[in-house]
Structures are given as C-alpha cells and as structure tokens.
C-alpha cells in the first residue's frame, strides 16, 4: 500500500531514538507489523535501503515480526486466530467478531553501536 510513508516513519523513529542514545550507528531495527496491516516487507526493505542512506541508520537490518490477527467473539468470548478472513467463531459459529490485534505497526527495539 503506502510503504514509503511507513518506511519514512520507521526511519524517523529510529533516527530520533538512536540520536537520543548518542548512537554512532543503528545496526538492527526490530519491527512488529500485524498481518492485518497490508504492508509488504520487501517493499519496506526496498525503500529502506534508499532512504536510510547518509543517516545513522544506513545499512541497518530490518527484522519483521508479523503476528497473526486475533479476534474475540462478542457472543461467546472465544479468542480465535484469523486464518480465513471470513470464517465465523470456531466455538459458536457467530460472525460477531472484533479484531483485538493484528493491525499494529510499531518499532519495538533498535540495536546501536556507540563507538
């Protein structure tokens, strides 16, 4: 979808946090991007290699954690892992489900070198 915007935001966050720790270099960035966020890893990596040039994040390795979406059934309270996008609750077969995770996008950790 809009991987450039997402990648720019990752770079902004990693640069800010790296500089705040007086990092000389950010070597690794750990990301959690839920499966429901329609972000393509390869596309983020493609933009990353380009836009991180000349920053303390240049050459940093992106590590993607892609957790599946979890849904809670509003009828019986069962929590199910989303496999089939349109499947009902596995317990009571209701479609009255709410997404409780899987659309998150965050920078979890960075690894830095100070000297």
């Amino acid at each position: 979808m809009h991987e450039l915007k997402v990648t720019e935001d990752i770079l902004r966050i990693a640069n800010e946090e790296g500089e705040a720790c007086q990092a000389k270099r950010v070597t690794d960035i750990y990301l959690t991007i839920g499966k429901l966020s329609s972000v393509v890893d390869d596309s983020v990596q493609f933009y990353w290699d380009y836009i991180s040039q000349g920053t303390i994040c240049e050459g940093a390795i992106l590590h993607f954690n892609r957790p599946p979406a979890l849904l809670r059934c509003r009828q019986c309270g069962e929590i199910i892992t989303l496999k089939d996008e349109l499947a009902p609750c596995s317990e009571c077969h209701s479609f009255d489900l709410e997404v409780i995770s899987g659309d998150e996008m965050q920078v979890d950790q960075i690894e830095i070198e100070k000297d």
């Binding site: 979808m1 809009h2 915007k5 997402v6 935001d9 990752i10 966050i13 946090e17 720790c21 070597t27 990301l31 991007i33 429901l36 966020s37 329609s38 996008e85 349109l86 009902p88 479609f95 009255d96 997404v99 659309d103 998150e104 996008m105 965050q106 920078v107 979890d108 950790q109 960075i110 690894e111 830095i112 070198e113 100070k114 000297d115």
Partner: protein, 221 residues
C-alpha cells in the same frame, strides 16, 4: 559495543494524533464529519451531489475532495452545486491523511458548516489505514464493481459505519449476486447500516439523508 534499546513506538502515530486534533476541531464547531471511501468510479462525487440536492435547506455542507491528480473536476462540481469545496491533490499518494485534511479544514468556513464530507482517493486498501478525524466511515460500493469485493478487501469493510450500494439501477444488466455480496459484508461487519441507492433514479437516497439528519441532530443536541 552493540547495545539493544527498547522503544515500542507506533508507526504512523503522528497521523493518529493529528486525526484526533481534526476531530476536536470539527467537534468545536458541532460539525459531523464523514470519510467517504470507494474504488474509482463507484460514484462518490455523484452521490455527494445527490446528497446536496436532498439535504434540508438549513444544513450547510463543506466538501473536501481528494484526488491523486492535479485536477479540480470534482470540487468544481460541488461549488457549482452551491457548497464550499476544497480540492486536495495528493501528488500520487493513494489516500488522504490527517495532515492533508488539517490543511483543507483551514480553507473551509467551519463556523458556517454543519457537515463535512471528505471524498477520499478512489482506493479500497490504503484509505482504511489512515484516520482523518471524521465521525463516520462510509463506503460506496457499486454494482458494476462485482459482488466479490467484501471478500477481497476485508479491512475496509471491517471498519465501516455505513455502506452505500450504488448503481442499483444496473442490477438487471449485471451478474451481481446481492445475497453473496451481503453475506460477505455480514461476516465482516454484522448489522452494518446499508443503503442501496441509485444516483441515476434517486432511489434509496432519502434513507441515507434520514440517517444523516439523525446524526446531525445528535451533534446539535
């Protein structure tokens, strides 16, 4: 020496924060904001024009038109219909975001408005990921697009408050299985408020206007 630093910061968080500001701004003026999404050609602008025709005379509407190309085709139509409109050209971006909407709100006479409709860029994927600060997410699906769209674009259907099914006048000519379409919608968003309409014949639009009036009434209460 390598060192690992815990961060846990949300990506695109700044957009969410700006969206909250936009909503506060609308709330301060008791304006009801609608984020209108659809694929290209579903009839967003036509539907807004039909809405303008049928709104009670005392309801003042402002429209924000989003397009990827530097054209003012849509906003010109709204202005011609007698309502203020601002055109946003996203310069190729596939969606509107809260910053663009913030700048557009600066150009609308908010103190005089009751309702703001934001016509998002025609796209069923990206607009779903960017909050704008509106009070309702509305999707216009249309008969010629085919009946499988809820099955293919699940995310946008999950996050809707209202669904419009436009171009119902074409149902006799197109193999659109309404039951199949609705079953997909129901699985993703049970009980979703749905208005089948035709901008061509005007059928069904009154029900949407009634819903809108109720929402506007709640804002002023």
């Amino acid at each position: 020496m390598a060192e690992r630093v815990e961060i846990v910061r949300k990506i695109l968080d700044s957009n969410d924060r700006l969206a909250i500001n936009n909503q506060k701004r609308l709330d301060n003026h008791q304006i009801f904001g609608v984020n209108m999404m659809a694929s290209p050609g579903a009839g967003k602008t036509s539907f807004i024009l039909e809405t303008i025709k049928r709104l009670p005379a005392d309801v003042k509407l402002g429209v924000i038109e989003g397009d990827t190309a530097p054209v003012t085709i849509d906003s010109d139509k709204i202005i011609q219909a007698g309502m203020p409109a601002v055109q946003i050209n996203t310069g190729g971006d596939c969606h509107l975001d809260a910053v663009m909407v913030e700048m557009a709100l600066d150009q609308l006479p908010l103190e005089a408005l009751d309702l703001v409709i934001i016509e998002n860029v025609g796209n069923l994927i990206c607009p779903a990921a960017f909050k704008l600060g509106t009070h309702a997410n509305v999707l216009i699906a249309s008969i010629p697009e085919g009946d499988d769209k809820p099955y293919k674009y699940t995310n946008i259907y999950r996050n809707l408050d209202v669904l419009i099914i436009n171009k119902t006048d074409l149902l006799p000519y197109i193999d659109f299985r309404l039951g199949y379409f609705k079953a997909g919608v129901e699985a993703l968003n049970p009980g979703l408020i749905t208005f089948p309409v035709s901008c061509k014949t005007g059928e069904g639009i009154e029900a949407w206007i009634n819903w809108l009036n109720t929402k506007l009434g709640e804002r002023k209460a």
